[in-house]
């Protein structure tokens, strides 16, 4: 039995090998590179799903997890063990990640066709897949962090893939630096966790003793004082999730990330990077939920809920087809984070999975639209329904799933979140985070439905609003992945149908998803009221969208009806001016400070001081030189002069005749002899 799980080590390895081989050897051969990348992710997918389907029926693995160690690093007298694992959460993620990646890989062949750096693109996305696959199978936080950063690197490379464009280049850098800020906070959280518990392995951290220990331990924080350690760790780790999952206030990188090729957007937004943040919180959930009354949960709930609503409002006023989806992603991630903040662990994970499928679908669909229409501006599109039927139908499926219309996938997951929040709110009363979450998420559901309707009507209905848009359907290599993803967008939700739901509940294995992931968590009971309200909100949103954009499709040159909102529209369109704020108050001061410090170093203080010391030294030595020249040298020269004078006299005795010298020698000997003989002893 266990042998199969041991193979989990290979899952991230396949795409990594593909990456290395493409980059080192097959860059010239585009076809071979494509197939290599496909084979890499394809093998991971096959192996991944084999493991997933084995694990679903294996209660031991779902409850305890299976660990496959790789290597250990000595730390003093101890060891830091690194390895991979399969457990419930990994199983759920392993179902989604390789498949969505594979679809994106296949799609990329069509989308990237003819790009000069085609092969390198496949190398990069293979590395990206390595990062995400490694992340979900890591059995400890350190390895997770490593893969997490690898993904950060790939997002940098891929967002800036068309680096000749300054905007793409800047977007890549922005993504990396912004997430890096979050990562450093997470890094500190990891260090705190490690130095408190002495381990980073999930298995050990979540053991009874360690959790108990964490509960008891306190830590002293500057300014705050002594607090429990668990919430501090949780909040710090959450910093990483905020960066990676583009939550307020570190969300700014994600819309700019649209500069990358569309499959990249799908990879980043749907299957991989942004979900990594949510995955992190879900993975570390026992720590977050350890002391539910402390800041850890409320911070998460607040940031998530706020972001969900905040990003949804921005999405209302965007014209770029991908930017709308980007803000929608931020908003949906806010849902998941907020769900975790109210303890809806299973619901959040469920939404993470379903969202990945339909958001990948939407991104790839938008890519197909861009590919066909040659523009990203929705104001120039229109009427694409007829010209791109497959794209339209699959896109519509994704849109309905996102809007939360039953029975599409998004409905079930979103409803479970709302139901859970409502449940908690009933427990805790109005002045509580669950109430806030439930309220903003419900509002967000309305907005979501509206902006998705706006997008679909602007893009696919009416007539083309620009004469240079000559759309055509995309090639099969692009549409097939859309269809495959659309199937999941429609049907995937059934794995998480509440058990009590008539007919469907028993039919689909009594909430199979909860059975897989929710070990130890109570299932959220079905709440008809909440469900009815959420359906009502979704339909209202869609209806409003139809009212504004669908009934009378926009004509060429006609302004967006949203502009009637006046200053609110301007504010939304400019994303609340947050980018400008950061640029003015964070980036520029940092650069200025750096320049200032360099001046301090080079021109003002340190180096001038060194040079001053040098100059004083030189001056002293000059003084020494004068002293030397006149006094020391005077003495030396004086000695020399006296010696020379003596020499002048004494040289007279030097005749140069050996006989003279010999005579002197003999006379001396005789003299000494005489002295010896006649002097009294």
């Amino acid at each position: 039995m266990t042998e199969l799980y041991d193979w989990v080590r290979l899952i991230p390895l396949f795409p990594f090998l593909a990456f290395a081989i493409i980059l080192l050897f097959t860059q010239r051969n585009q076809k071979l590179s494509t197939y290599l990348a496909w084979v890499g992710i394809g093998l991971s997918w096959l192996l991944g799903w084999t493991i997933v389907f084995r694990a679903i029926g294996d209660a031991h693995v779902l409850e305890e997890g299976f660990r496959a160690p790789i290597f250990s690093i000595p730390t003093g007298r101890g060891l830091l063990q690194l390895g991979f694992q399969v457990d419930a959460l990994t199983t759920a993620m392993l179902f989604m990640v390789p498949f969505v990646c594979l679809m994106i890989f296949i799609y990329s062949k069509g989308y990237m066709h003819g790009d000069p750096r085609y092969s390198r693109f496949f190398a990069y996305i293979s590395l990206f897949a390595t990062g995400m696959l490694g992340l979900i199978v890591s059995d400890n936080l350190l390895l997770l962090y490593i893969f997490w950063e690898v993904m950060g690197l790939c997002s940098y490379l891929l967002i800036g893939f068309w680096y000749e464009k300054p905007s793409a280049m800047k977007a890549g850098l922005k993504a990396f630096i912004t997430t890096r800020i979050g990562d450093v906070i997470m890094f500190l959280g990891m260090l705190l966790l490690y130095s408190t518990t002495g381990t980073l392995s999930f298995h050990e951290i979540f053991s009874e003793e360690t959790l108990h220990f964490l509960k008891e331990t306190t830590v002293w924080l500057p300014l705050v004082g002594t607090v429990s350690v668990a919430p501090v760790i949780a909040v710090l780790l959450f910093g990483g999730a905020v960066g990676k999952s583009a939550q307020f206030p570190l969300h700014v990188w994600l819309p700019d990330a649209m500069e990358g090729p569309t499959p990249v957007s799908a990879l980043i937004h749907a299957a991989t990077m942004v979900s990594a943040g949510v995955y992190l919180v879900a993975r570390m959930f026992p720590i977050f939920a350890l002391l539910p009354e402390t800041a850890s949960m409320s911070v998460v709930a607040f940031i998530g809920g706020f972001t969900a609503l905040f990003a949804a409002t921005i999405a209302l006023a965007q014209d770029d087809i991908k930017r709308v989806l980007a803000y929608s992603t931020i908003s949906q991630l806010g849902y998941m984070i907020a769900a975790l903040g109210v303890g809806a662990y299973v619901a959040a994970t469920f939404h993470l999975i379903t969202h990945a499928f339909f958001k990948a679908l939407l991104f790839l669909g938008s890519g197909s639209v861009i590919h066909g229409a040659g523009t990203q501006d929705m104001m120039e599109m229109g009427g694409l329904r007829k010209k791109m039927p497959i794209t339209f139908w699959t896109f519509a499926a994704g849109m309905l799933a996102l809007a939360g219309v039953p029975p599409f996938a998004g409905f079930w997951s979103k409803d479970e979140i709302l139901a859970h929040a409502f449940e908690e709110f009933m427990h805790k009363g109005v002045v509580s985070w669950p109430f806030f979450v439930w309220l903003v998420l419900s509002l967000g559901a309305l907005l979501t439905a509206f902006y998705m309707a706006r997008q679909v009507f602007l893009t696919f209905y009416g007539e083309t609003r620009s004469h240079h848009v000559h759309a055509h359907e995309s090639p099969k290599v692009m549409t097939y992945p859309l269809i495959a993803l659309a199937v999941f967008a429609v049907f995937l939700g059934f794995v998480g149908v509440p058990e009590e739901f008539p007919v469907l509940g028993p039919l689909f294995g009594h909430n199979l998803f909860h059975h897989i992931v929710g070990h130890g968590y109570p299932a959220t009971p079905l709440n008809w009221g909440v469900m009815g309200l959420s359906v009502l909100l979704a339909l209202t949103g869609l209806f409003l969208g139809w009212l504004v954009y669908g009934r009378n499709p926009l004509k060429e040159g006609q302004p967006d009806p949203m502009t009637k909102l006046g200053p609110v529209y301007t504010l939304l369109r400019n994303k609340y001016y947050i980018d400008e704020f950061y640029s003015k108050f964070i980036v520029r001061p940092a650069v200025a400070l750096a320049t200032l410090l360099f001046r301090f170093d080079n021109s003002w203080v340190i180096d001038p001081f060194v040079n001053l010391v040098g100059k004083v030294g030189a001056w002293l030595s000059d003084l020494g030189r004068i002293f030397d020249l006149n006094i020391i040298d005077g003495i030396v020269n004086g000695v020399a002069a006296v010696t020379a004078w003596f020499g002048k006299i004494l040289r007279l005795t030097q005749t140069g005749k050996a006989q003279n010298y010999l005579l002197v020698a003999i006379l001396t000997v005789l003299l000494l002899l005489g002295l010896y003989l006649y002097l009294p002893m």
Binding site: I73, E164, V184, Y194, V591, L597, F598, G614
Partner: protein, 499 residues
């Protein structure tokens, strides 16, 4: 090992340099080939050394011969898990530098190779010496060839830089010499191991502190730590490529090595007392170095300042470990911090070495290092871009490459002991990412192509050969750190348990 391997490693370069001296200077090809061949001997021996090193065995490969018996000076050499990686690093970087220089050095070839081999001997000597006088002699021997390398083959301000480097280091050396004599008078031995075991000035804390700070000054200048770092940008910028590589790759490590081998075992009490000061300086080095790097527009100067920042990590780990001396359950954290510091030393050697080679590659072609003069070169020189990217990412501590582990261990160790320092130091990570990606990668490689460089050629074979070994080590140690940490950990655990 039944032959004197350390002596061979140390003196084969000297022998080689003397033979080079006897060669006619017109035979440049022969001189180059011979020097490279000579430098391979210590490289192979150092690999042998590493392979034969018994991990937990303390000082090994010892040789002890009386040198100046009248004052108890011995020729005492030995190596352990701390010095062996550094010896290997020295041998590797020297061989690569000689190889690279054999293609780029055009004038005064004979002198260059002579001095370089002499330099190699000095560096090996420092890493193997276990006797103060021997240590000091080698320490000073290294200075002279470096002075000439900068002063003769350097850039436009070479004289200023060379003299600044020389004087600065000498100031520290003098202080150290006084302290060494003091230690001798106190303990009656010049033997580093014995003296450390006897704890010089154990009865008089103040005198010990004086000696501590004197030696500290010598090493801190060499490391260099803020505020003793300003010789470094000048020396690095003016030195020829191979000189910068050795300067950053090895000479800075001499200072760090001194902290580990001499200062910590000899003055644990003082080190413990003054650790906060050193940690503060280290944190300043990290953040300040990174920020100043970010303000640079000269590529070489940027990398030079980044060294200040990266060596700050080493010192932070060391200071944290020292800070925890005497605390009971801190051994693991201390060992992790020290492992990280030593690993970081090694990493910095290969990463910054590679970066300086890369600067040399572009400077050979473009004759400028001004970041604003480039742009969009990624498509023009893809190979160069790839290698630079890997080296840059390793430098900013990307997990999966070697640089990450050093930083991680340093921060992990420090965090458990002095969390505030670690937290402040971590800011450096963000700035490092910023200057590598924004300043280096973006300004040189990305964006619209600058037509001025239409004739730029990609890397030559010899440049690739120079850089590949370094890249391989970055990836190898990044993916499988136990390869080196095993060695270091044993030595560090031993060192710490002796304090």
């Amino acid at each position: 090992m039944d032959f004197p391997i350390l002596t061979l490693i140390t003196f084969v370069p000297l022998l080689g340099s003397l033979i080079v001296l006897c060669m006619p200077k017109e035979k440049e090809r022969l001189i180059k080939q011979f020097s490279i061949a000579v430098s391979f001997i210590p490289l192979i021996l150092s690999i042998l050394l590493w392979v034969n090193l018994e991990k937990g065995g303390g000082i090994q490969f010892e040789e002890l011969v009386a040198w100046i018996p009248a004052i108890h000076v011995n020729y005492h050499v030995g190596a352990d898990g701390l010095s062996v990686p550094l010896i290997f690093l020295t041998a590797l970087l020297t061989t690569l530098s000689l190889f690279y220089s054999s293609f780029t050095i055009k004038n005064r070839v004979k002198e260059f190779f002579f001095l370089f081999l002499l330099l190699e001997m000095g560096m090996f000597g420092v890493f193997v010496s276990l006797d103060f006088v021997l240590f000091y002699v080698f320490w000073e021997i290294g200075l002279v060839p470096m002075y000439f390398l900068i002063g003769v083959w350097g850039g436009p301000r070479r004289e200023y830089a060379a003299i600044k480097f020389f004087i600065y280091t000498l100031v520290g050396s003098v202080a150290m010499l006084l302290a060494i004599i003091g230690i001798y008078l106190n303990t009656g031995t010049f033997d580093i191991i014995q003296a450390a075991a006897m704890r010089p000035f154990v009865e008089n804390f103040t005198l010990g502190a004086l000696a501590f700070w004197a030696i500290f000054l010598a090493f801190a200048i060499k490391v260099p730590m803020f505020p003793f770092h300003t010789w470094l940008p000048d020396a690095h910028v003016e030195a020829p490529t191979a000189g910068s590589v050795i300067l950053a790759g090895i000479l800075l490590k001499l200072g760090c090595y001194g902290f580990f081998r001499i200062l910590l075992p000899m003055f644990p009490e003082q080190f413990h007392r003054f650790a906060p000061i050193i940690a503060v300086l280290a944190v300043i080095s990290i953040v300040y170095g990174a920020m100043v790097s970010m303000a640079q527009w000269d590529l070489k100067k940027l990398i030079a300042y980044s060294s200040v920042s990266h060596m700050g990590y080493v010192m932070l780990g060391l200071a944290a470990a020292a800070f925890a001396i005497g605390s009971k359950d801190m051994l693991t954290s201390q060992a992790i911090a020290m492992n990280g510091a030593v690993f970081q030393m090694f990493n910095h050697g290969i990463i910054t070495g590679a970066l300086f080679f890369l600067v040399g590659v572009i400077y050979e072609r473009a004759h400028t290092r001004d970041l604003t003069a480039f742009g969009g070169l990624a498509s023009k020189v893809p190979y160069y871009y790839g290698i630079m990217l890997v080296a840059g990412l390793a430098s900013l501590g990307l997990p999966g490459l070697a640089g990450f582990w050093g930083e991680f261990f340093v921060f992990r160790g420090t965090f458990a002991i002095a969390p505030v320092y670690a937290a402040v130091g971590a800011i450096g990570i963000v700035f490092t990412a910023a200057y590598i990606l924004w300043k280096v990668i973006q300004h040189v490689f990305l964006g619209p192509f600058n037509e001025k460089w239409a004739n730029l050629t990609d890397m030559e074979t010899y440049e690739k050969i120079t850089l590949w070994p370094l890249v391989i080590f970055m990836v190898l140690f990044g993916l499988y750190p136990p390869l080196i940490v095993d060695t270091i950990n044993a030595a560090m655990t031993r060192l710490l348990s002796g304090l």
